[in-house]
């Protein structure tokens, strides 16, 4: 079928954008969770 490769490219690019965005949010969340734990332990030591 003519242009099927373009259709697949569009769908793959679309899902890749969503996947990369989700991974980026997850990574930022993981970094913030580590920061929360670090700050909590710092505060506990100070008490």
């Amino acid at each position: 079928m003519k242009n099927l490769d373009s259709v697949l490219a569009a769908y793959l690019a679309g899902w890749a954008i969503f996947f990369i965005y989700y991974i980026s949010v997850s990574q930022r969340m993981s970094a913030l969770r580590d920061e929360v734990n670090r700050l909590k332990s710092l505060l506990n030591k100070g008490k």
Binding site: N3, S6, A10, G14, Y21, L42, L43
Partner: protein, 225 residues
């Protein structure tokens, strides 16, 4: 955590099912052929982006009038997720345009205003990254977000108001427009699945913003000690 995995799995199955319907249930369009299958992703993402930007607009107005930080968190979450959706539109559009128009891009009203829409929300996020103080950041970005949303109706109506390379609307386009019933079902299911994805991404992003606020509060406590 388990709930998130279940939600993501259900959504993945739904998206796979709608993609299957778009490819196998919906008929092949007579003029453009198989390339028209991009329609289901392209248009559904555009409408989902509009929904996200409308949520951002509501949250920005709410912040300006109430100064609740939760409205600011909702605003930034909707802006970022909307930007992801509009990015899909800006990538899938040229892939569709090239075999049909013979060009990847042209600076007509619809395409230019959509590109500007993406730039406006990139600017919204950049503006936030440049202001340290949370209240000032929330207020300035809310005011900018209200201004940025003005481009959404311009994008929507551009193909009705001006002659453009971009085709005239087939959804809500008035007399003579419309979709084959099987195309309509496939499109609506795709839009439903993408709206589910929009909700999932926005909930996750909102959680990130709430966590960021906790970090800022803990940092202030640590500085006091």
């Amino acid at each position: 955590m388990i709930k998130s995995i279940v939600n993501a799995t259900v959504l993945f199955v739904l998206i796979a099912l709608t993609a299957y319907l778009a490819f196998h249930y919906a008929p092949i369009e007579k003029t453009m052929g198989v390339i028209q299958k991009i329609f289901y992703l392209h248009i559904a993402c555009a409408f989902s982006a509009f929904v996200a930007f409308a949520i951002c607009f509501y949250a920005n107005l709410r912040y300006v009038f109430t100064r609740q930080m939760k409205a600011d968190w909702l605003g930034v979450s909707a802006a970022e997720v909307g930007l992801a959706f509009i990015s899909v539109v800006l990538v899938s559009g040229p892939i569709w345009a090239h075999p049909v128009w013979g060009i990847w891009w042209t600076w007509d009203a619809r395409l230019t205003l959509t590109f500007v829409l993406g730039l406006l929300y990139v600017s919204y996020l950049l503006l936030r990254s440049m202001i340290e103080e949370p209240d000032k950041r929330a207020l300035f970005s809310a005011l900018f977000g209200i201004f940025a949303f003005l481009d959404v109706p311009l994008v929507y109506f551009s193909i009705r108001w001006w002659r453009t390379q971009h085709p005239q609307p087939v959804i809500l386009g008035g007399p003579g427009s419309g979709l084959d019933p099987r195309m309509r079902v496939s499109y609506l299911l795709m839009w439903g699945a993408l709206t589910g994805l929009l909700v999932l991404l926005m909930r996750t992003r909102y959680g990130l913003e709430a966590l960021r606020a906790s970090v800022e509060e803990l940092r202030r406590e640590a500085e006091v000690q």
